[in-house]
């Protein structure tokens, strides 16, 4: 093997994405450094890394957001590059700049690009300038009356969004004028809390929209390719829980239009490294630019599975100056992939987050299956981190096959000790409307009743109760601990 592109890379993240990134780094012969909070010293990403360093913070999340500490650790260990993963500091322009200043490579876009796309308002303006359609909107202002008036002009329903936000935080739908002020206030407060920037704006809310996004790679010199689209319409609380590639029922013209607009945007921004352009697609075929995410996304595996391209590898190569992995003309897709986000939550209680301990973990294996996770037996699932525990990604020759395989894998997957959405996702994928791809971002709300679990029949209930009865130590003892011949004689009286 030729010399590795980097000697040592620090993965400034945790959980499944840290494991996934390190897998490719190791394949490429690059030494890996993991960081972790004390609460996670036995985590899988720590075990996998060549070197692990503890980071300190008031909370585990705060530790992962401590730029200075992380860069200091990287410097001390003579790390060449830092991969930020997704979330945390991945879209923090200051961090990207600081890494570069410290003489290390930030595996991602330039700080300027991050800043440009990170500010939703400036991103929108940039998109508009480069002929990418954007939804009508109202910018925030100190004059609330004015804001409300202008919002009324757009018409309801409209969406309040955090200017500096993403990932569904700081968002809400407003359906009538009376609710606007309160919604704006809450969104602003959340935005201030998470993104340090309380600015919000309002834009048209497309009813029953589909969320379509395009994976792009840019070489930083104006060259960019797309790796086709993903559909991420199945969401709850504005967060994606099922993603697939390619999007179903898209005409090749529309697909081409959407994907090339993304490439156009990336090229215009001299975008470097991996990114995703997100769109809202209405039933009438009109699509609007939503935002651009300047990082590797959670759902990148579905693109990898239909294109055969390792996106993390591409990121590292681009960061090392090797340019794009292949020309657009050679990007092909094969089959269909579906990703299910396994989360610690209770779908029957409005997806309330759950905590617990991993008491049993049973993972299905197949050559068409990827189970991206960092789960270990006995691991505590706490409120410290995001409730997403793992990603189950299934590939098939077509969408129906991918659906069948996803259902089978979800059936085999056993994660006991914390409530999860595993069974819920299986029911969802099995739903007629999902099978026929009648997808939109309100899918879960619309089919709420259908997706509720079926009532158990008598026999099933008896089996479950018996299985549990035989597990409780005191009742099992009563069954197996009876001496002979009393056990054989049974309940006799004389």
């Amino acid at each position: 093997m030729s010399d590795p592109l980097f000697n040592k890379v620090l993965v400034a993240n945790r959980g499944e994405i840290a494991c996934r990134i390190m897998r490719t780094l190791t394949d490429m012969g690059i030494s890996t450094v993991a960081i972790h909070h004390a609460a996670e010293s036995k985590a899988r990403h720590v075990q996998m890394a060549d070197k692990a360093v503890e980071i300190c913070g008031e909370t585990p999340v705060a530790a992962h957001l401590d730029m200075g500490q992380i860069i200091e650790i990287a410097r001390k260990l003579e790390v060449d590059a830092i991969h930020p993963g997704y979330g945390f500091l991945s879209e923090n322009a200051n961090f990207a700049a600081a890494v570069a200043e410290a003489g290390m490579t930030f595996i991602g876009p330039d700080a300027e690009t991050i800043a440009l796309m990170g500010d939703k308002i400036s991103a929108r303006n940039f998109a508009e300038k480069h002929n990418v359609a954007v939804a009508p909107s109202v910018m925030p202002t100190d004059d609330l009356e004015d804001f409300i008036e202008k919002a009324a002009d757009i018409g309801y329903p409209l969406l309040i969004k955090a200017a500096a936000g993403g990932g569904g935080k700081g968002m809400s739908i407003v359906r009538e004028a009376g609710a606007l002020v309160e919604a704006a206030r809450i969104a602003s407060s959340e935005a201030q809390r998470y993104f340090g920037d309380g600015r919000v704006y309002a834009e048209t809310f497309v009813d029953h929209p589909r969320h379509i996004e395009v994976q792009i790679l840019g070489d930083g010199k104006g060259g960019a390719i797309h790796l086709f689209e993903r559909e991420c319409s199945v969401q709850r609380r504005f967060q994606k829980i099922i993603e697939e590639a390619p999007a179903a029922n898209l005409s090749s013209e529309l697909r081409d239009e959407i994907c090339t607009s993304a490439t156009r945007l990336a090229a215009a921004a001299h975008y470097k490294n991996a990114g995703t352009v997100e769109y809202i697609l209405g039933a009438d075929g009109r699509f609007f630019f939503l935002e651009m995410n300047t990082r590797l996304q959670v759902e990148h595996p579905v693109t990898e599975m239909i294109t055969g391209i390792d996106l993390v590898r591409a990121q590292i190569e681009i960061a090392a100056g090797k340019g794009l992995p292949l020309p657009q003309s050679e990007v092909r897709t094969s089959g269909h992939a579906i990703e299910c986000r396994i989360c610690a939550e209770n779908p029957e209680q409005d997806f309330m987050p759950e905590t617990g301990v991993v008491r049993h973990l049973g993972v299905p294996e197949a050559e068409w299956l990827r189970f991206e996770n960092a789960l270990t037996h006995g691991q505590k699932i706490t409120a410290d981190f995001d409730p997403m525990l793992a990603k189950l990604v299934a590939h098939g020759p077509d969408r129906d096959a991918a659906i069948e395989r996803s259902i089978a894998a979800l059936g085999e997957l056993a994660l006991l000790g914390v409530k999860t959405n595993i069974d819920y996702l299986a029911r969802l994928i099995n739903h007629d409307a999902f099978r026929t791809a009648e997808l939109h971002t309100g899918f879960i709300a619309q089919h709420r009743d259908d997706l509720a679990p079926k009532a158990l029949n008598e026999t099933e209930r008896a089996q479950i109760l018996a299985a549990a009865f035989l597990g409780f130590r005191q009742t099992r003892d009563l069954i197996v601990g009876t001496p002979e011949p009393h056990a054989a004689i049974g309940g006799w009286r004389n």
């Binding site: 009876t482 001496p483 002979e484 009393h486 004389n494």
Partner: protein, 535 residues
């Protein structure tokens, strides 16, 4: 081991007659049992309910592990005493399984005169504790008694095996390391206070349970002090101040729950290794027993038919089948346990006595428990037999039996008369358990025989006095003797006096023996050895 070949036909007239007869006897038995167990004064039941108490049998059922057997002992104790004033001798005793452990359960019955102890109650309790000592069975006391039945105090207090023996037995059990748990559901007064006091663990129910050497009335009479039941000996005081009680419970159900948890802490006993195979039901239907025992105690029947309907697979390895044929000896399995069976098939002669003694020696040598199935009128008497040494031979059988170190179990199936009772492990011979069937009769000799003998004596007396033999007087004497005897011969009379551990349905014998044998294995075997055999 070969299967016994049954020779009877269930269609024969005799079978049908005997069957009808024995089922009538059984019905009578069950009716008496039902009355003894459940028939109570309404006001006593009402009072119990008002106090928030459960009936004693309900407490026992809640205490026992579900789906496990309960072998109740002496259910008809005191049935012919005190004018029926103390059914079951105001006490429920039996062997059951609690939290996976075999235990002896002994419960007071507060639905009879507040649970007061009659003399036979004390005898039953002492017997229960004797069984616990001999078999090393842990004991659970369910205490709820008003104390000794004062009207009969002289019969329950002073003598060696009266009231004090209960506490002596408790102390010895504790010394032996055999655990006792007391659940105090009612008052434990005076001597009764020592039952929880001498138990290793005790639980007391708040509000109804109380422990004191003297209750409030006695205290007031003795010292003038006025104090309530709760303050004097209630749950909170004893569990937090005096430490006489270990666990307070807010309800009877909770007390039982705590009791079960306590038992669950006890180590499982190490039993001695009796030979055991996989159990198998008898090949012949035990229900046929009703048609085998004749309707007249003088009629003979083949005990092999009884054995065939009691042992695993009806398989029996007979020892010396052609010698001493009036005593059947052989090996079989009951609920898997290997046992040596001695069963009467007629009068005991020299040869059968010797065979019995030898067989018992073989069982002792092999550490095989002994089961005696009695149907015996006695040893053969007469000049020829005396000359042959029937006295010596009977003595040898008694010597072997008395000195056996393996556990012994006796079932009195029909007749149990005279010295035959002795040789075949009667009550005096420390069998671990002794059961009888409802048709069973026991006496020095049979009713007719006694009547005849007494009549004979009377006639001789009259002759000596130089009088005329008065036929009418002899007849009257004969009838009086006979009916007095009949009453005292019956199984009900003997079980009333606790001369056995209970009348059981013949069909229940197999389970009773299985449970009894299992219980006996908790105690190690004694030392082998015999006295002098008069050869």
């Amino acid at each position: 081991m070969r299967k016994i070949q049954s020779m009877i036909s269930t269609a024969s007239p005799d079978f049908r007659t005997y069957d009808a007869h024995n089922r009538r006897i059984l019905t009578e038995f069950r009716e008496k049992q039902e009355t003894a167990r459940h028939s109570r004064q309404q006001r006593d039941l009402d009072r119990l309910e008002k106090q928030g108490k459960m009936r004693p049998r309900e407490r026992i059922e809640m205490l026992l592990d579900p789906g496990t057997p309960f072998l109740e002992l002496s259910s008809l104790a005191a049935n012919m005493a005190y004018d029926g004033g103390s059914p079951s001798a105001s006490s429920i005793v039996g062997i059951g399984v609690v939290s996976g452990r075999e235990v002896m359960i002994r419960a007071d019955d507060p639905t009879i005169k507040g649970g007061a102890w009659y003399p036979l109650t004390i005898k039953k309790i002492v017997r229960a504790l004797d069984i616990a000592i001999e078999n090393r069975l842990p004991v659970i006391h369910l205490c709820d008694s008003a104390g000794g039945f004062l009207q009969l105090q002289s019969d329950l207090f002073p003598d060696k095996f009266m009231g004090g023996r209960i506490f002596r037995n408790q102390s010895i059990l504790s010394k032996m390391g055999v655990k006792q748990l007391a659940l105090v559901f009612g008052h434990c007064t005076a001597g009764g206070a020592y039952i929880p006091g001498l138990s290793d663990y005790n639980v007391i129910v708040r509000g109804t349970g109380a422990v004191f050497l003297g209750g409030p009335p006695l205290v007031k009479a003795a010292t003038g002090e006025e104090v309530s039941v709760e303050e004097l000996g209630g749950a909170d005081m004893h569990t937090s101040v005096s430490g006489s009680c270990d666990y307070p419970a807010s309800s009877e159900a909770e007390a039982i729950h705590i009791g079960r948890e306590i038992v669950a802490q006890w180590e499982r006993p190490k039993k001695w290794d009796c030979q055991r195979e996989t159990p198998e039901d008898p090949a012949y239907d035990p229900d046929e027993l009703y048609g085998i025992i004749p309707d007249d105690i003088k009629k003979h029947f083949d005990m092999r038919e009884v054995i065939a309907r009691m042992v695993d697979g009806s398989r029996f390895h007979e020892y010396q089948p052609n010698y001493g044929t009036t005593l059947i000896c052989g090996f079989a399995h009951i609920w898997g346990y290997k046992v040596g069976i001695l069963a009467n098939n007629g009068v005991l002669f020299n040869d059968s006595s010797l065979k019995g003694a030898h067989f018992m020696e073989l069982c002792n040598q092999n550490n095989t428990p002994l089961v005696f199935l009695q149907n015996i009128t006695g040893y053969m008497i007469g000049r020829e037999y005396e000359r042959r040494g029937i006295t010596k031979d009977g003595a040898k059988m008694i010597m072997a039996q008395s000195c056996s170190h393996v556990p012994k179990f006796t079932v009195m199936c029909n007749g149990s008369f005279g010295a035959g009772n002795y040789g075949m492990c009667g009550r005096a011979f420390d069998g671990r358990f002794m059961f009888c069937w409802p048709n069973h009769q026991i006496g020095v000799m049979g009713g007719d025989q006694a009547a005849n003998t007494l009549a004979e004596v009377k006639i001789n007396q009259m002759k000596r006095n130089g009088g005329v033999v008065d036929e009418a007087e002899v007849q009257k004497l004969w009838e009086e003797t006979r009916s007095a005897y009949q009453e005292q011969l019956s199984a009900y009379y003997s079980t009333s006096q606790l001369w056995d551990d209970g009348i059981i349905d013949p069909v229940d014998t197999r389970n009773a023996l299985g449970i009894s044998i299992s219980a006996s294995l908790n105690a190690p075997l004694g030392d082998p050895g015999y006295g002098v055999f008069r050869f």
